[in-house]
Symmetry: C2
């Protein structure tokens, strides 16, 4: 860094949005994971957090704690991953810090975005009568991790590869988040799992939610696995690492959401509704409550 700290310009009428995430070897990634993907996933998890406020990403700061066993090759791959995604998402490295460590590789990334003051989307805005919407597909990252561990040998190689890619490299919905300003009442990204994250919205908003499990969107690969094993569907809704956006909006905004989905070429589907009360209920195709083993998802 050419100075002790980095300068960040703030446009008049805008606020900065700040978020930080970690990636620790053995917790968030495996020692042999490709370093460019480790870099991108860490960055994209943060970009997903910014999108979940409706913010546009601008800058980031990075720290690396690397054991001596991590050679230059690893670091070069890591840097190439960051450079790729800087271009893709139009963000710049502001500064950072690097150190050696006697332990596993430990990385942190602080992302800064901006948003017009007063337009920030929060978890706390859901209202009874809102519908619940989710982007993309749910459960692929959960399945991708199982595939990496040798699960689902019956799946075709291309489907296995797709699920692994969705686990290793999320596609944060940076274009969708800012477009939800003026549409969504509450917004969150799905990182802990659909049910757990909707639970956060309910808690912060003081409301309840009901989800129709059959409406939760699945990829082709996930759909095949669920066809074989219908009980898997509820697991996918409690998986995690999806980095899709989950939001609530009044029913009359359905047409504009459909337009937005078409213009971004990104599926956005209605999966349930908000009511007064507390907690998240999942209903099966017959309208019967589905029991959940756990409300969330733990890192391996």
């Amino acid at each position: 860094m050419r100075d002790d700290a980095a300068l960040v310009d703030c446009r008049p009428g805008y606020r900065l949005v700040a978020t930080v995430d970690q990636a620790v070897e053995g917790v968030h990634f495996l020692p042999d994971d490709p370093p460019d993907l480790v870099a991108k996933k860490l960055l994209r998890r943060n970009l997903s957090d910014l999108a979940a406020m409706g913010a546009v990403p601008r800058h980031y700061l990075l720290t690396t704690a690397l054991p001596k066993s991590r050679g230059d090759e690893w670091l070069q791959g890591f840097a190439e991953g960051l450079a790729d995604d800087q271009r893709r998402f139009g963000i710049a490295l502001l500064g950072g810090d690097s150190t050696s460590t006697p332990g596993p590789t430990a990385l942190t990334l602080t992302a800064l975005g901006e948003i017009a003051a007063g337009t920030e989307l929060r978890r706390s805005g859901a209202k009874p009568g809102d519908r619940v919407w989710v982007s993309g597909a749910i459960g692929d990252a959960f399945l991708g991790l199982q595939v990496l561990r040798g699960g689902f040998p019956q799946l075709a190689p291309e489907h296995r590869a797709e699920l692994i890619a969705r686990y290793r490299l999320p596609d944060p919905r940076v274009a969708l988040g800012p477009r939800l300003v003026g549409i969504a009442n509450a917004l969150i990204d799905v990182s802990d799992g659909l049910v757990a994250d909707l639970g956060h919205v309910c808690e912060e908003s003081g409301v309840a939610a009901t989800i129709r499990l059959a409406s939760v969107p699945l990829s082709d690969a996930a759909g095949l696995l669920v066809a074989d094993n219908p009980a898997l569907r509820a697991q996918l809704a409690t998986g995690g690492d999806d980095y899709e956006l989950l939001f609530t909006a009044p029913p009359e905004r359905s047409p504009v959401i459909a337009q937005l989905s078409a213009s971004l070429d990104l599926p956005i589907v209605e999966i349930g509704s908000i009511e007064s009360g507390a907690g998240v209920r999942l209903l099966d195709a017959d309208g019967q409550p589905v029991a959940l083993a756990s409300g969330g998802w733990q890192h391996f």
Copy 2:
């Protein structure tokens, strides 16, 4: 965190200043170091970086990666240290992330400050003819680490305790930094060591510096050790972890610097001058160049 990311207000006409530092067990602190001091030192290193831009600290984000062996007691001490220093320095925790780790405790802290746009102080502003000034005393942290390792048994217990305290708990010059706006041409904090950090200023400014070693300010304890062993004086100038402010300013600003020193009750002494050229020269009391073993300082 109640939302995915934290909002930061920017006052019109101001910029944000961002910096990040890490503390890894076994690199930046020892396993048995008191947790409140580990917290405060990490925070204060960042505050020193903000002061070195002339910025006023406002917010911070924190990540913790903790092994299971770190019990609640350690975390409570760590949190108490942060709470103390939040009050002392008038800053607020914006958000963060915590995880477990199979390795040593690893902490990062991102600090955000603000400064009126256009008044930022940089390393690159030093001009030939400037004088070089430094706050406080140099070398205590270096000596404190030696004392912790059993060095300097001849020192009185109170002096040993003072040096250890200066190593464990820097006193970042947060009041001085912003007051140097309009006075200093270049500013940096002394973290790598006086010579190395002045070297950064010279490199970024395209100038040379000459320091009179006898003018470098020492604490009473350091002065006693240097009286016993004059060769130690040059080591102190290449030590590190001082977190004093080092700046250059035109000679005619000496009176206002003397006033500032008095009003802050903080010694600020002139130790040398800036010339055209490159590099840092140290002169002994006879005006002879002092050879340096190394230009900087390494963590243990």
